[in-house]
Amino acid sequence: MENEQTSVSSKASSEQTAGEITKTSTKKIAEQAAEWILLLGEADSEQQQQLRIDFEQWQQQDPLHAQAAQRVEGFVAQLSFFKDTDKPQHAGASKALKASLQQSQHRRRKKISHTVLGLFLIFTLPAAILLQNYPLAYLAADMQASSGQWHSHTLSDGSHITLAGKTALNININSQQRTLTLLSGEVYVDVAPDTTRPFVVETEYGSIQALGTRFIVNHLNNNKTRLSMIESKVLVTPASPTATTAAIIKAGEQIKLSANGLSPISVLDTAMQENRWQQHQLLVQGWTLAEVLSELSRFHRGYIHFNAEDLQTIQVSAVLPLNKPEQALALLAESFPTIQVQQFTPWLVIVKKAVKKL
């Protein structure tokens, strides 16, 4: 197999020394790049290392090789955004592509007749109108923060809340109660004291009643909600009927709520939280790179594609700016020469292990 690859590569270079890039050799390069991607996709972890080195080598032979490789890799990465079967993007992409491809088949058969053209709609939806077609719960959410944003609000009762990164929540304040429902993301709450109306944060896995305090609730991606206490205390009641009793969480403590109830109470790093919410910085110590990228992606406008397994061995201790995630990525690229951060489109960033240059 290796010999085959070598002979194909040298054939390509001899065609180039002929001085003219013909259409055939462009197609050949495209086919080679495609072959490489297929090989890498099929290879087991043992073969991956060597294959990547060989692939890098092939790319360095000619800028056209590198360009072809970039195009295929970029295309495959675009698709991987929709790959996670747990996320709504997956079903969305599946249905959308099916509909679009059917439409193109139909078009091929009809070969653009008068009637077909007449049915084509002309308008594309600008962003504002897009929101009207948006998922119900998100639309209904009273407040949303999209990536890279820190939104602070003062509620009608005088409480302050700050939303971090991609967050959506509902607010219901009336004469009897004050309820904040966290749908997704992360919120910092500073509750105004009011003995007549309890302040409650509802989450999927339980409710958190403030006893006049400051705390943070984070709807995590792994089916858990995390509560971090900054000041005073709260009463946490798990939603699960099988779970044990409620608990009071005090300042400096942290707890996770899940379908199974409450986790044991752990200690909170208050300095880290201050950095996060005041300076908009992420203080990490001994996190894996995969964990760091997961956190950054909540603040990054687009999509950061990376292979968690690949980057698990890299440990990061750093202070990263959360309000400028591109800067954070650049910092990471600088500090870790073993990784490569590539911006494919304004939206798509790919982070992967760099291969040693020759």
Binding site: D86, G92, A99, S100, T124, L130, R301, W347
Partner: protein, 173 residues
């Protein structure tokens, strides 16, 4: 030399517009049945030509060129509309459950990515489209895909290669 070329091109588009815009609007109005939309479409067609890199190079029949560009434009808009509707409908269904879902920005960008993916897939036969999506969207292995469709793994690879080659083709606009 390059300044000359720029003026040359500029001059050509102005001529194209002054000589054929009215005609194009008329032609489009017959096709889409609405003069207002036709005017918008004609406008977009010229914008697309101006934006494109190879605009007007070696074009002998300006009207045929305009029609081809307008048709491509309408196809792209229809594709966009189809993708958007299907994608958003699915997101709405998924939103019933309390999960974290993408922001409007992310959704817009996802739809643009799907446009590109669809354009690439439309260039290959239906079978290749199916195989490719099973492997790269559904995450099935090549062997599992071959089994499911009753074909050899060799055929699966050949289909995948078609798409991976097609995606490198430069889309003009």
């Amino acid at each position: 030399m390059s300044t000359e070329q720029t003026f040359f091109r500029h001059d050509n588009i102005d001529t194209l517009y002054s000589q054929h815009n009215r005609w194009l609007i008329g032609w489009l109005a017959k096709k889409v049945g609405c003069p207002h939309n036709a005017a918008d479409l004609a406008q977009d067609t010229f914008v697309r030509i101006i934006k494109s890199r190879n605009a007007l190079l070696g074009v002998r029949e300006p009207r045929a060129y305009l029609i081809t560009t307008a048709k491509r434009l309408m196809i792209d808009k229809a594709r966009r509309r189809t993708l958007e509707t299907a994608y958003l409908n699915e997101l709405m269904v998924a939103a019933e459950t309390l999960e974290s879902y993408p922001s409007p920005e992310q959704t817009l960008q996802a739809i643009e990515a799907l446009q590109h993916i669809s354009q690439v897939l439309e260039r290959v036969p239906a079978k290749a489209q199916q195989v490719f999506l099973l492997v790269y969207l559904e995450g099935k292995t090549q062997t599992a895909t071959a089994e499911q469709l009753g074909i050899t793994t060799r055929t699966v690879r050949s289909h995948l290669l078609k798409v991976l080659v097609s995606c490198q083709q430069h889309i003009d606009f």
